[in-house]
Symmetry: C2
Subunit: 146 residues, 2 copies
Amino acid sequence: MIADKIRAAFDEASQRHTRPRQLIAERLIQHATSGTDFTVDDLWQELRKSEPRLGRATVYRSVEMLVNMGLLNRIEFGDGTHHYRVCGGTHHHHLTCTQCHCVVEVDVCLPVEQIRTIGSQTHFDIEGHSLSLFGRCEKCRSAHSA
Amino acid sequence: MIADKIRAAFDEASQRHTRPRQLIAERLIQHATSGTDFTVDDLWQELRKSEPRLGRATVYRSVEMLVNMGLLNRIEFGDGTHHYRVCGGTHHHHLTCTQCHCVVEVDVCLPVEQIRTIGSQTHFDIEGHSLSLFGRCEKCRSAHSA
DNA sequence: TTTAGTGCAAAGGCTTTGCACACCG
DNA sequence: CGGTGTGCAAAGCCTTTGCACTAAA
């Protein structure tokens, strides 16, 4: 379960159970459950509601840690902005609406043997890939169909 | 030819042939020819050698314009940095070395019918996609094989 | 001459860092 | 208590903006 993974990640990376990290973990679990993505600032604003003194830097530090541990996925948009998203582990990619920035998980992927071929052609040791699809979601299409 | 495309892009988007734009075009043609990618700052530094008074903002403005016209491709790295690259038009993707950041063009791509399927499943009007492969290039692998 | 395009410097946004303090164990 | 983790504010980066000026047409 994702909630356990998040808590385990904090445990593994640190020596103390602090209130800020508990709050961050809780909020991330909610995001994981609802499948919503967020910016560091989103997260900070949300957390500040219940803990006004929580520092922005703390949020940045936790997010960085979780990204390094592979629990949080950084989604880059073409315009240089980016969101984060809890990634439970299964390999998947994202389809983002270019208008409202909503994100949907998709399970398209590159054929494995194609990746292998590229690896041997280029003499690269291929470690990973990221695939982003862009388009307009149903809502935005109908809203702007005029 | 790519050189013509770059010049044509400047012509189309503007009314005057200025020295800064000529210099930028020239430099981009070189990058296109050698297949090297670059940051805005790289480009600015290079141009400053021959034209010390050339402003950073001018480079930013030109790069933005060319990205919008599809002639320059912004490559996002996982760590939030990004490079630009002259893209002659043919559809392709990039394989980047996670160690030295060198970039190779590859012609892998998602099967078209998969994209279509996703579109209808998600009710998105899919407009495009970006695919990045990461790995370690031959040089870096042998250098660090120890 | 006219005004698009430029250079400069200041302002902006996001992120990181330094440091004293708090608080977990 | 001891030291990790925190909050705060300052500093850093990269990028954009405002504005007076330059130089293409």
